[in-house]
């Protein structure tokens, strides 16, 4: 008769965390950063259909890295949460903090109670009336939440990208300067990586818009912005 091996809870958690980290590091990176008119999201993602960046609500957007089916599942849950809450109460009662809490609970439960943790990392961001009132929450596979300021890099070679972004990020950058900083940072994933507008998924939460502040930037606009800042 075979004896079941004893695995200590510490070891179990560590194995799960290692597994999730490995999965997340396999993909490409996403960066989120504040600029003077709002929050900018840039993903190294050539697909026009499978998004890593999405609108959740009027002032809230979502960015994710890792396994598509897993973060898509979380995104749909987030949209449902936001729309139901906004309809039940009022549109202004949907907040990034509430959503981040929901994701933290979901991810935390999945991490501890199932064998396979989600291999995802998320950012939930809400644009405020001023730069000081912007909120950026970063959620990891085990359900931990971090309240970030300025910029976030996640997925793939996240450390290298974060390092590059740290050197380039300044408060109150214009959209074109912020986009250039983001693209250059994403290029730091590999020494020979060059990102064209077509290979990028870019979106903004622009506080100067009305009602729904989320907007995707088409390739033409991305090229224009990158051209602007080069000159």
């Amino acid at each position: 008769m075979s004896m079941p091996f004893y695995v200590s809870p510490e070891q179990q958690m560590k194995d799960k965390a290692d597994y999730a980290r490995k999965g997340i590091a396999r993909g490409r990176s996403v960066v989120v950063l504040q600029y003077d008119d709002g929050i900018l999201f840039v993903a190294d993602n050539p697909s026009r259909a499978l998004h890593k960046i999405s609108e959740i609500y009027d002032r809230i957007a979502f960015a994710a890295v890792g396994k598509y089916n897993e973060f898509e599942n979380l995104r749909l849950g987030g949209v449902r949460y936001a729309d139901v809450n906004g309809y039940t109460y009022d549109r202004r009662d949907v907040t990034a903090r509430g959503l981040a809490n929901l994701y933290a609970q979901t991810l935390g439960t999945i991490f501890t109670e199932t064998n396979k943790p989600y291999e995802v990392e998320l950012v939930v961001a809400e644009v405020g009336d001023t730069e000081a009132s912007d909120q950026i929450y970063r959620l990891t596979f085990d359900g931990s939440v971090a309240d970030e300021h300025g910029y976030v890099a996640m997925g793939g070679q996240a450390d290298a990208v974060a390092e590059a972004l740290k050197a380039r990020f300044e408060e109150g950058m214009s959209l074109s300067a912020a986009l250039r900083a983001a693209v250059q940072s994403l290029e730091a994933q590999d020494s020979d990586r060059h990102l064209e507008a077509k290979a990028l998924e870019v979106a903004v939460l622009d506080r100067n818009r009305e009602h729904r502040l989320f907007r995707r930037l088409p390739a033409v606009r991305i090229e224009e912005l990158l051209g602007d800042s080069a000159g």
Binding site: H51, I56, V79, R80, Y87
Partner: protein, 215 residues
């Protein structure tokens, strides 16, 4: 699409500045007639559902899809409608597949009917439709279409006690909205105010409004 601003409770004017025309989504507008409470609730739910679909699927519903969804919402109110709380909407939108505008009307049971050229709903709709019949013509510009709408509303208010006319004293004007390929736009008060003023001025000379050629 345009709507007057009057809400009544029996014989009393309940509100002078109520709004009956709404943005449904970027490419469609919806208006309501009948029981205000239920109508507003249906519009709110309809707006959320369109946005919800758009975010989940990453594309907007087809105009037919929107029209069908609204039909289902109205059908869901049939029980209340049988008890007298009827609400009837009007949907107008830009159909991206056909590159043109379309209008859908409904009955209290959720029946959906596509209209041609123009339509009106509500207590004053018979008078408004008479005016539309004489004033509408193919190829109207957006400006002229807004004028036709305000003329029709004036005629409705002229003969129907539950339709409010332009209130020049309080500066309360009809809500006028246009939907084009570029999206939904509610005309600002100054713009509608100018149109309403010109309509009222015209009625001093001709109380029945512009006359149609007889032959």
């Amino acid at each position: 699409m345009a709507g007057d601003r009057r809400a009544t409770a029996g014989n009393v004017i309940a509100q002078r500045d109520v709004e009956k025309v709404f943005r449904a989504d970027e490419l469609s507008a919806v208006a309501i007639a009948g029981t205000a409470g239920i109508g507003l609730e249906i519009v709110r739910l309809f707006q959320v559902e369109l946005e919800h679909y758009e975010k989940l699927e990453g594309r907007t519903l087809s105009l037919e899809g929107k029209a069908n969804r609204l039909a289902a919402l109205i059908r869901g109110n049939l029980g209340m409608a049988m008890q007298g709380l009827v609400v009837v909407p009007l949907l107008a939108g830009f159909d991206e597949e056909r590159a043109g505008g379309r209008i859908f009307s409904y009955d209290a049971a959720g029946g959906r009917y596509e209209e041609r050229d123009f339509h009106s709903i509500g207590s004053g709709s018979v008078f408004a439709r008479g005016a539309l019949k004489k004033l509408w013509r193919p190829g109207l510009s957006a400006e002229d279409a807004a004028l036709v709408c305000v003329q029709a509303l004036y005629d409705a208010a002229d003969d129907d006690s539950a339709t409010g006319g332009p209130d020049l004293i309080r500066r309360i004007f009809p809500v006028v909205a246009e939907v084009t390929a570029d999206g939904f736009r509610r005309l600002p008060d100054e713009e509608v105010g100018a149109v309403a003023q010109s309509v009222v001025d015209g009625r001093f000379d001709s109380p029945g409004g512009p006359t149609a050629p007889l032959r």
